[in-house]
């Protein structure tokens, strides 16, 4: 129990600290302006809108669309390379530890007094939406649908991203009357998406990550071979189902310890009565496991 509390507190602390660190331009929230210094050359690992008034770095998904939609480039080696480097080390642990919008969803899911859902009807199909978001809205449409000067739009940011609305849109509009006067149907549409995601987060663990996040879809690809991953000791596993029961994302770690949806919250590690699931960090202390 103590280990469980410590791990979840450490993760929460890490999420809060990284969110505060990567959104450290506090004056921006009061002035209704964004930070504009060379630190924004660099991407941050999580989904953190660069139009958030506090943002010190760039959102990788926004950057990917900006480069793909630009007149000069149609492929972004810079962002792809960055995602590969981060993914190779952490995989989808980024979502569990370093994503501000993941933190928001985590906090909402802690609200007690409501019946929590394990999954939505059609979950298997809904999960594929992440790849549609990535392939269609992040890559294809910004690349091929261009204006008269050859510039593409960031389709995912424009029509879907609730993180941009919450972290960028709402604080900027609150502090900037000129922007408020320009609000139209698009903002209403994005607010509707945000409200649906936030309300759903109270009942269902991380709905945006499960169904819509293109960044999570990219990092999920690295989960099987990232330096930080989980290993199941089949000799110790009794398939009691304890790990599956505690998993907020309804994954069965005894079958797929490195599932593409796993955000490495570590609840399964604590729940296992036989300590059959271990992370690569803890594995060095133990012997006899077989790697997946």
């Amino acid at each position: 129990m103590a280990r469980k509390t410590l791990r979840s507190q450490l993760r929460l602390g890490c999420q809060v600290a990284f969110t505060a660190l990567s959104n450290g331009y506090v004056q921006g929230f009061f002035k209704g302006k964004i930070y504009n210094s060379p630190t924004k050359y660099a991407c941050v690992p999580g989904l953190n809108c660069y139009s958030c008034p506090g943002a010190l770095g760039s959102c990788p998904i926004g950057s990917l669309q900006a480069v793909i939609g630009s007149r000069k480039f149609h492929v972004s080696l810079y962002v792809l390379g960055f995602l590969m480097m981060v993914g190779a080390i952490l995989g989808k642990a980024v979502c569990g530890f370093l994503c501000p919008f993941g933190l928001v969803q985590d906090l909402l899911h802690k609200i007690p007094g409501v019946k929590k859902l394990r999954r939505l009807p059609g979950e298997t199909y809904l999960q594929w939406l992440r790849y549609v978001m990535l392939g269609l809205l992040v890559i294809l449409l910004p690349m091929v649908v261009v204006d008269i000067v050859g510039q593409g739009s960031p389709w995912f940011c424009k029509y879907v991203c609730p993180s941009g609305t919450l972290l960028g849109g709402i604080p900027l509009l609150a502090g900037n009357p000129a922007l408020r006067s320009a609000v139209g149907w698009l903002f209403t549409w994005k607010m509707a998406i945000l409200v649906v995601i936030l309300v759903l987060s109270v009942f269902l663990y991380r709905p945006f990550c499960r169904y819509l996040c293109p960044l999570g879809a990219v990092y999920g690809f690295f989960n099987r071979f990232a330096l930080y991953r989980f290993t199941l000791n089949e000799e110790q596993c009794t398939h009691c189902g304890a790990c599956h029961k505690v998993c907020g994302l309804d994954i069965d770690p005894s079958k797929t310890p490195n599932h593409s949806q796993c955000i490495r919250c570590g609840k399964c590690l604590d729940a296992c009565p036989h300590e059959a699931i271990v992370s690569t960090m803890a594995r060095r202390k133990k012997k006899g496991e077989t790697a997946f």
């Binding site: 302006k33 964004i34 930070y35 504009n36 210094s37 060379p38 924004k40 050359y41 991407c43 809108c49 660069y50 139009s51 943002a55 760039s58 926004g62 950057s63 900006a66 480069v67 630009s70 000069k72 480039f73 972004s76 080696l77 810079y78 962002v79 792809l80 390379g81 960055f82 995602l83 590969m84 480097m85 993914g87 190779a88 080390i89 739009s153 960031p154 940011c157 424009k158 991203c161 941009g164 609305t165 960028g168 849109g169 900027l172 509009l173 922007l179 320009a182 609000v183 139209g184 698009l186 903002f187 549409w189 994005k190 607010m191 690295f222 071979f225 990232a226 330096l227 790697a291």
Partner: protein, 45 residues
Amino acid sequence: MKRHLPAVAVFCLGAVLLTLGIVRGEAQTVLQKAVIICMECIGIG
């Protein structure tokens, strides 16, 4: 070490791509987009 080889290889390939991206000026494109308010991102259009 052998079981970490795929991750190390992907990391190194990523570093090469990142460097190539910087050399051909993509980081500048990212900065130019990131230092002005992205109207699409905040829902103005």
